[in-house]
Symmetry: C2
Subunit: 147 residues, 2 copies
DNA sequence: TCTCTAGATAGGAATTGTTCTTATATAGGA
DNA sequence: TCCTATATAAGAACAATTCCTATCTAGAGA
């Protein structure tokens, strides 16, 4: 899984700075480092992974701060929660509209893109007002199949 | 949310009996009651809800049995796990190919059906072998919007 | 019908992911 | 620089799920 291009990471960090300015949310070192970890990774890390990585730079970071910050970032629309079969939430800083292939054996997640969103049935507005649509394809990833 | 038609419930229970016979899995009272709760409900209950309902008939049922049984039923393809924003897993005994509208406010889940599955991009087979496709629409349900 | 046993359950402890509590620290404005 | 609303650290608490082990039982076979 190739890393996110440095220029793209910079754009994402810039979005964080803007969002902080706009919402009055403070730009703390912790928030910067937590977001950077998500922003520079394609692997949809979970909270514990992020915690461990940030801790290498900030040894006193707490679980609470990681969870709280990820929730804030999600609220600001800077990261998405991705639903997986396992219970642990995984996060994603890719802001482009995209979908996920989830390996049911190893839990890895890969992005894919749809040319056109699936057309929803007429009745859908009877259920409620749709705000987002997520397509999740589940299967066995190449890595797992070759091992 | 209208209940599942009794004839449909019977069909589902019949599938359980068949599956037990075919796989050599024993048909215990616990399995029957746990599956019946899921089979007769449209509300995608979670494990704790199922536990409480079954406990009214079987006061000594344990959490472990409910979780273990739901996992077995999932493995047999008799129920599906539905991913929700919250951490708690929800289950569904509707065997027809369908998708979900998830209310991000109250957590309620409603079924909807697509006329045709969304066409996946060419590159998808590079990620792995797809086994299932889930479309999840998130938004605010009517119930919540009117309150 | 009775017996036998692999497989299943009950009850409670343990584990894991997440949130809460509270004392302390700090970002950013005045 | 000072002030204070906001954020953090540390660890306890909580909630969902799984593990452990003694006990039970479904269903096959005598
Ligand atoms: Mn992604
Ligand atoms: Mn359903
Ligand atoms: Zn895999
Ligand atoms: Zn609702």
């Amino acid at each position: 899984m190739k890393p996110v291009a440095p220029s793209e990471v910079e754009q994402r960090l810039e979005r964080l700075r803007l969002a902080c300015r706009n919402t009055g949310m403070r730009m703390t070192h912790q928030r910067l480092e937590i977001f950077r970890e998500v922003a520079q990774s394609n692997e949809h890390p979970d909270a514990e992974t992020i915690f461990k990585r940030v801790r290498e730079k900030m040894p006193t970071i707490s679980h609470d701060t990681v969870y709280r910050t990820l929730a804030s970032l999600e609220e600001m629309g800077l990261v998405d929660r991705v639903e997986t079969m396992a219970g642990r939430a995984r996060y994603d800083a890719n802001p482009d509209c995209h979908h996920h292939f989830v390996c049911t054996r190893c839990g890895s997640i890969a992005d894919f893109y749809l040319d056109q969103a699936p057309s929803l049935p007429e009745g859908i507005e009877n259920l409620g007002s749709a705000e987002s649509l997520h397509v999740q394809v589940r299967g066995i990833c190449h890595n797992c199949k070759n091992n």
